[in-house]
């Protein structure tokens, strides 16, 4: 175990201003801008009315969730190939942020579905595949608490994450493969130009906020992981990236 003085130094390294805070601030600003535009500037939808406005956050949350789990996949492959702790910590951070965003996406979708479809939930292929994806990554998150050895845990979680990632393309293409209650993916072809702008602003907002959450979580987890394996936290890469 590392000495407590070293631990304090590492904790200090996670405090203070880092480049990810700037990303977070930009993300928060974009979210305010996009939400303001979506709520007060743009007109209501011709068929759905004001209920449609929730899609300005629901759709970006969905994109961000899929991106988070893609980051988990990349981190898992990175760990299996390189075996450096940064990849494992990135995988853990992205899994947790992905799960939070996924729950938000499902909750927002449910709130939208109640007045539109008349039900909070339907066993539509898109909804089902999202739940399967979230439960799969939730199980992987639980797996971490079952294994004590850090190397063993990182490898097992990486393998399970790669297998669970099979769900992500299924979620994305489910609306194309099985035409059901959920509409096709929102794109400039299916959404009015002004509405696309608000969607894009919020998409970047969720992306930046997601990066902020992941990197913050990555820094904190790095400290714990370094304590656990008595190694330096893999922060050098991030600092070099900021410089």
């Amino acid at each position: 175990m590392a000495e407590s003085g070293t631990a304090e130094n590492r904790a200090g390294a996670a405090k203070g201003f880092h480049w990810e805070h700037l990303i977070g601030l930009i993300g928060a600003g974009l979210l305010l801008w996009g939400s303001w535009t979506g709520l007060f500037v743009l007109p209501p939808d011709r068929f759905m009315g004001d209920v449609m406005r929730i899609l300005y956050v629901h759709v970006p949350a969905a994109w961000a969730t899929l991106l988070c789990f893609t980051a988990v996949f990349v981190a898992s492959v990175g760990w299996l190939i390189r075996g450096t702790w940064g990849w494992d910590v990135l995988g853990e951070a992205a899994t947790k942020v992905g799960l939070v965003l996924g729950v938000l996406l499902t909750a927002l979708g449910s709130i939208w579905a109640r007045p539109t479809w008349g039900v909070w939930w339907d066993w539509d292929p898109r909804l089902t595949s999202v739940v399967v994806m979230l439960v799969a990554f939730g199980g992987i998150s639980a797996l971490r608490s079952f294994v004590e050895d850090a190397v063993q845990r990182a490898t097992w979680v990486a393998v399970a994450s790669i297998i669970a990632y099979v769900n992500v393309p299924v979620v994305y293409f489910s609306v194309k493969w099985w035409r059901s209650l959920h509409q096709m993916q929102s794109s400039p072809k299916t959404v009015d130009g002004d509405m696309v702008t608000a969607l894009r602003i919020n998409a970047f907002a969720f992306l930046f906020l997601g990066i902020w959450f992941i990197v913050r979580h990555w820094r904190i987890l790095s400290i714990y992981r370094a304590e656990e394996v008595s190694e330096e936290p893999p922060e050098a890469g991030l600092r070099a990236g900021a410089a």
């Binding site: 299996l80 399967v132 199980g139 797996l143 097992w156 399970a160 669970a164 099979v166 299924v170």
Partner: protein
């Protein structure tokens, strides 16, 4: 464990040496031929070693029939419990495929935990790790054995389901067994991989369903729908689509799990 890979590598090196002696296109063709021979040799070695692991697992199952019969009894019990839980007998008839596959899925977790538990006893796992076979052979051997045993159990459950739920198999038992084989394959490959994980941790029996069940949702869905069609008839010709989904599921997970299994065996 790297014996097959080493063989392939040696062949490749030999081919490079031949380039200097023969020169030109002929030497290149020689290298390609030797690589092809190396691959064929590796595949035949994989098949043989898979066969040995498969037979080892079947022999273990044969030597302790009590374990298997306990798993089968558990599956029968689940079918029985569903008939107590659902009071409306007409619903039992229509939902029989769902109960049947749930019984197989739940009892498969018992078998999967058990098949790795016995490998953990008497340091048998170290013996498996030291075997001069590729990890994929261990994976394929154990998965095939699991698939065969689950299929056998599923066949035994058919008359129980028919009797308890008063159903008839309209499209024939052979087709039902075909669905069963594909479904058992879908349960076996991820099951063997996650069974290895759960056998090596505390409270692994909790972990196994937590990891396995979300993954099995598409397979369970396809198996249930395909079985329903086999039992009730398929006037809209939907069966091929569900069987294709099951086949795709098997191809993806058998190859992905075989690729990753080695890393789990090493750690």
């Amino acid at each position: 464990m790297t014996a097959v890979g080493d063989n392939g590598g040696t062949s490749g090196t030999g081919g490079t040496g031949g380039t200097g002696a023969g020169g030109g296109t002929g030497a290149g063709r020689g290298t390609a031929e030797r690589r092809g021979e190396g691959l064929a040799e590796a595949l035949s070695r994989l098949a043989v070693t898979t066969g040995w692991i498969f037979l080892k697992d079947l022999r273990l199952a044969w030597r302790s029939p009590g374990r298997l019969s306990a798993v089968a009894m558990f599956a029968v019990l689940i079918l029985l419990m569903f008939s107590f839980a659902v009071s409306d007998t007409s619903r039992l008839k229509t939902e029989a495929p769902g109960y049947y596959w749930l019984a197989i899925l739940l009892s498969s977790t018992l078998y999967l935990s058990d098949t790795w538990r016995i490998e953990m006893q008497n340091r048998a796992m170290e013996g498996i790790r030291l075997l001069p076979v590729p990890p994929a052979a261990v994976f394929f051997g154990k998965s095939l054995a699991t698939m065969l045993l689950l299929t056998g159990m599923g066949i035994l459950l058919i008359p129980v389901m028919v009797g308890l739920y008063d159903i008839s198999v309209r499209m024939g038992t052979a087709l039902l067994i075909g669905v069963l084989i594909l479904g058992a394959a879908g349960l076996s490959a991820p099951g063997i991989l996650y069974g290895l994980l759960s056998a090596r941790v505390r409270s692994g029996e909790v972990l196994l369903p937590l990891l396995l069940f979300p993954l099995e949702v598409p397979a369970l869905l396809a198996c249930t729908r395909a079985t329903t069609l086999v039992l009730t008839g398929d006037p809209m010709d939907q069966l091929p689509a569900w069987l294709s989904l099951l086949t795709a599921f098997n191809l993806i997970f058998w190859s992905l799990c075989a690729l990753l299994f080695g890393r789990l065996l090493e750690e």
